[in-house]
Point group: C2
Chain length 205, copies 2
Amino acid sequence: MGRRADDGWTEEGLHVMPRKRPAPEPATGWLDEEQQRAWLAYIKVQLRLVYEMNRQLQADSRMSLADWDVLTALGASESASLTVTALAAQIGWERSRLSHHAKRMAGRGLVELATANSDRRATEVRLTAEGRVTLERAAPGHVELIKRLFFGGVPRELLDPLSTALESVYANLLAHGSLPPPDSLYADGAAVDAVRGAGDGAGAD
Amino acid sequence: MGRRADDGWTEEGLHVMPRKRPAPEPATGWLDEEQQRAWLAYIKVQLRLVYEMNRQLQADSRMSLADWDVLTALGASESASLTVTALAAQIGWERSRLSHHAKRMAGRGLVELATANSDRRATEVRLTAEGRVTLERAAPGHVELIKRLFFGGVPRELLDPLSTALESVYANLLAHGSLPPPDSLYADGAAVDAVRGAGDGAGAD
DNA sequence: GCGGATTACGTGACATGTCAAGCATAAGCC
DNA sequence: GGCTTATGCTTGACATGTCACGTAATCCGC
């Protein structure tokens, strides 16, 4: 990771509306003032937060946000083991990406790969003892970071409106997003998701 | 580009709180319910949105979100030309990343690179005619996407609370984030930012 | 103006992600 | 059983990003 954004960001360049046009909102035009304000705030938080999370994980636990997502999902499963497809769906990745990444993590001893007994085609990604320890050691710090950086700035009374707003945005995304599968993963009701949650059972210092 | 997340996401695995512990909130513990709700919503929107933006830009204009950020920032500058450092600061990248990326974009004719006259050390990244056309053609669709996917789901009355909440989060991020520069960019008050804005002067359909 | 910081970049090696194929096992079907 | 299809992954080539370092142009005191 690495990146950096000093202390402030100018609004200039983020222009989500024309620099000239005074139009009130052509329906199919630019973002109006209220929208632009929300959009800028959203984008800035997003970029900064990803940077911070990556950095903290890297510094404290020598792992990337990607590693965290994988370990977290595995740690959450009962058997601490999931097939590539299931795990990929869980964290929203493409299988090939996970295939590559899992192999690297296996190289570092965080997980191990083995052909499944039930289905010889399937590969099980299993959390190793070392992987679990790593995860449990990293969890507290990550949760702490989120509480500090994200929630430290949200007034209690805005928490509910924030959730509500984001939830509607998400619902809308699901309803109107495109999403033709990159592969042909995720059958009908496949449970996708489970991502970047903060923390996992155990751990804590 | 490429990824996919079917229709829904399970909450399972996102676990931002322990699976057992009943603790009310150990101060240095896990996220409480309200926080977890907001966090899950935030993460899900973030992942999905990035996926959608990348996809739309790729499909409609053969460009990545990264290309968009670069073109957008250049398009916003008066001279349609910025030095590598300035541009990197604008969009929040590391200079080396921009260096690599700009070279590729130059290969595709979207920008051109030239040593600055004023400072022989500096390299100017300039928007080419083709680059501008590409940007202006892509802008409407991108803005449209954001209005549809993001704002299509936000009830008007929640827009202000949403902005306020995100702005406080951002302010908090600036105040408590780490951020030791990856390089030693950004002198003191350097205006950093300007990112992924949607749209640019001109364009429109 | 000379020598040592500083600043602005470019590079090379390597980590990560994406895409298009390819391979093996499983399922269906007759 | 033997074929055709579907499923589950892995690979290889290549696009992108990150890091550590190297080089050239400026700036600063003296």
